[in-house]
Symmetry: C2
Amino acid sequence: MMSSLLLHEYSPSGNCYKIRLTAAHVGQPIERREYDILKGETRTPGFLATVNANGRIPTLQIGETFLPESNAACLYLAHGTPLVPEDRFDHADMMRWLFWEQYNHEPNIATLRFWYGWVGEDALSELQRANLPGKRSAGIEALALMDDHLSRTDWLAAGRFTVADIVLYAYTHVAEEGRFDLAPYPHIRAWLARVAARPRHVPIDA
Amino acid sequence: MMSSLLLHEYSPSGNCYKIRLTAAHVGQPIERREYDILKGETRTPGFLATVNANGRIPTLQIGETFLPESNAACLYLAHGTPLVPEDRFDHADMMRWLFWEQYNHEPNIATLRFWYGWVGEDALSELQRANLPGKRSAGIEALALMDDHLSRTDWLAAGRFTVADIVLYAYTHVAEEGRFDLAPYPHIRAWLARVAARPRHVPIDA
């Protein structure tokens, strides 16, 4: 019996979507509360004092406690289900993709999606503009690494559908909104189709 | 009975140190192989084809398989030990700090340590120089968040010493090499001393 769950979120965020997608796969209902990040609603004194001192969504509220970090929330929801491998190596290998997602994938692919789709190309700061080429090439490197890996396996870790596939699906399937062309990555495209075909799958705008 | 373990590393890296520190705490011997990252030894075709396609250390070799991502390697080593909480929330809360470390702490605090200590201030590129103020303020935000959290608890998660403390100790205890002053953070300094006083602790240069 789980406490009531409330997702503090900005729904178009891939980091929020991955939590909803995990909840759908484990059949766990969650309530949702929307914040407008563009209006600073996650930086108010009240938000910082209670929901997340880091000023970011998503945060998963579990009863009276708060769990920030999207991938930690996915792991919480998937705890004890087949989405989390029990084998020692397979478990660590799944975790490897979750850390890689936050270090090598999200800061490039999600950030460019946000810059182009939310900030707007004309409104980018000089510093953001200076960082575009580096983030573009790092994002391409990340996609190439995924494509190469998925040329040898149907799922990212443990030979089966795990939290790693959910977490990396979130921003990869909308990479083109960050102007990353997925045409050169046939193995990624086939994997995206496999993830979307899973029973209980929900789209990002559900 | 674990397979033989070989850490592919650059020993001054905090990401490599956290793996050695975890191994020390669980009493697991590991062999070590050193690469000079400044000479591109982790970007050779051989390294990319076998050790880590992402061209980075550390990678933990377990028998004939390779596990990149420092925090995943720590979790592998600590699997089934008291360093990893079993309780569902405590486990996710520990994971929260591990993801936060890779997203909010390492890219700022470890990067400035590397830029000042290895690249050298005079050799920084124009883009690195442009990113200094943002990384400085994000690093300070990260330290302030940790200090606030540690004002209320002795350990980062689960009310006890876990992998989260090991992982965040690695770059926090050398933050001054990135010119982050720890004087304003008494709770961090007390926590660093608690971590260093644990039985089996090893320093970064061991």
